[in-house]
Structure formats: structure tokens, C-alpha cells
Amino acid sequence: MRIDQQPAYVLHARPYRETSLLLECLTRDHGRVGLVARGVRGERARLARAELEPFLPLALSWRMRGELGTLAGAEAAGAPQRLAGDALLAGLYLNELVVRLVARQDSHPELFGAYALALGRLAAGESLAWTLRRFERDLLDALGYGLLLDRQAEDETPLQPQADYVYLPEQGPQPWRGQPGPRVRGADLLALAADRMPDPEGLAALRRMMRAVIAAHLGGGELRAWRVLGEALRHR
């Protein structure tokens, strides 16, 4: 199967054989795909290695065979978003999130837009934490694991802004009665649902909640970026 000029981003590239790269890409219509880019690491590379870096909007063409495709062409599709500093680390986090949570060749059309939007926000210098929380919410929605953010899990009672809840990853918010689990204010859950940025305390609570939810979807594992970037951002 041949796919032409598909909007895409490279999420990760690793060396493959002598002069090739194995690319993990997020594409608009074909979800996450693994592509082999042949001969791009040599001196006389047909495609510039720099064009296959993460965070650049690309139009990719490839031929699919089994699990992996073979890259046939890559073109620029729009101006590059330049991520620098902490925004760059946050971008690496987005990429790990997508690679770890999204299965290959499952199409999620909304996901591509949400990813591009998040990159744009990172490049524009918007709040890192809030950008990441919004993307996590949209990613879970696109994968069909949407969060329950406006009512209680058990009895559908609407959330009270001033009440405290515990978010159970597989179910949703439960009134907090001292039980373990990520504790979060009703107001912060409602703010996330309404796309309104909460205060720093609320953002921190939402971060802990998202970690628990994502860990549950990873089957109890954790994202390496939590350790890597947590430490990188701590030294400031």
C-alpha cells in the first residue's frame, strides 16, 4: 500500500543498520506508523537528516509492508515550530506519551490536531504544565479513554467545585473520604473540562491525577520522561 503526502510529525528516530533510521511518526490519517528511512545517515544522503527531526511539520510518502513502512519521500509542510529550553523537554515528553500510549496503525484523526496544537502552544511559550494537561486530556479522549470531569463515577452526581475528590483511573471522581489515590478539587476537574487554566495548586493536583491515569493505561508502568524530565526541571 502506498501513501502519498501524508501530514506527519516524526516522534523519534533511532539508527537502523549502517545508514538508515527507524522513525516513529504520528500521521493525520494513519495514526502512529513505524517507517524505515533508508540511506539518510550517509555522507551523500538523499534526504537531509535535519528534515527528519521531531517537531517539524512534514508531508511524508511511504510504502507499507507489514508492520513497518519504507519512507519514499519527505517534504516540509509549513514553518517549523522552534522549541527551546524547557519547552523542548516538554516536547520530548509529548512524544514519549504518544509512542507509549498509541498503538501503531490505529487511526485517531483528532489526535494529530491536538498534537500540532500542543506543539504550537509550547513554541509560543504558553504555560508548559497547562499545555501538557490539555494534551493529555485530548489524547485520552482520542483514544477512547476520555476522563470523567463533570460528575461522580458512582451516581452521576454533578461535581461540586469546593468539594475534594479522588480520581480512580478506571472509573472517575469519587468523593474524598481519606482514601488513597490522587486527590483533586472539584473546581480543578471542572476547569479542565471547560478548558480554563486552574491555579498552580490545581495544576499540580491535575498532574498527579494524570500520572495515575496514564500509569494505569500503561499497565502500571511509568513514562521514562517523568524521571528524566522531572530531574532535569528540578535543577533550576
Binding site: 517539524l56 520530548l92 521514562r224
Partner: protein, 200 residues
Amino acid sequence: MSTASKVLAELIDALRCLPGVGAKSAQRMAFHLLERDRDGGRRLAAALTAAMERIGHCRQCRTFSEEPVCALCAGAARDRHVLCVVESPSDLAAIEQATGYRGLYFVLLGRLSPLDGLGPDELGMDLLRRRLAEGEVQELIVATNPTVEGEATAHYLAQLARDAGVRATRLAHGVPLGGELEFIDRSTLAHAFGGRQALD
């Protein structure tokens, strides 16, 4: 692979651990050594054994070394106030060959890359932090690759240097010498354009 000799089969299988060597090349190498160059084969075996047993990492810069401290770090001729951070020993070799750099190195053996499981611990950042805290280093030259992950690593290194009150510098990115603007990829060109310098 079915061969008459079990030892030969093992040799062929072992040779396949080399990058770019498949079953066919491994067989060709094994036959060549057995038929034509047994001395070469013995030398290779001895060199491999010696290297695998004795080469470790320099305690100061993490590059490959059979001594606890490598010859570069132990040498008296180098400027100990400048430290150049590179991703790999091959980057170190490239800088040694191409530039007249007289300072010391620090080899990360990788770059910050969550998806490859490489974080500050794997890259020896603690060792580097202690080195900077000693106060001898006055300039940290960040020579990680100009890739997304190399840039993320550079950002991290710049923070380390700032915390330790050490000046950090980064290799310039730009148009390769002898290159033509028309054929340069847009990221490099954009970078070179943004980093233009005054003509004196």
C-alpha cells in the same frame, strides 16, 4: 546454519554480533580466517579478549580507557580550565583531529532521550556536577549534536553550568564550508540566518 563443525558454527554465530554483519558475511569472515589468516585470527582473538577484559571508563571523563584515569585527563599538557562535553568517544576523536583544542573532555555516552531510556543518571550528570563544583573548570563547551535530543541535553548542561557559576558555550551551527545556500536544509539555514554575525 548447518556446518560440519560445532566450533565453526559458534564462531559464525559470534561474528554476527558485529554491526552490519549478517549470516553470509559472518561465514565469509570465518572461512577467510581459517583458510588464509590464522595468525590474524589469533591476533584478533587476543586483542578482543584484552579489550573486553581491560577497557573500562575513565573515572574523570567517562571515555574508554584501560587506566582508571585516561591519558588525556592525566596528561599535564592540557588546559584544565576548559571542559568540552561530547555525546560519544567518536565525537571526542573528531574534535581532537579537526581542532587545536587543548582542554579536557567529558563524554556523556548518549544524550537525554526518554524514549531510549537515557536520563541524567545514565549520562553521568552527577559526576559532571561534582566536577564543576570543584571550581577548576571555568568554561563548559557544550558540543552535543545539533539534534532535538542533543539540544535538550545542551539545555540541561547549560543549567548545570549556571548552577555552578561556570560559563557555558555552545558550538556554532551554520552553513557548512563550501556549501551552497540553495541546497542547505531549511532548519540549518534558518539557524544560520538567526545566528548571523557582524562583519568586522
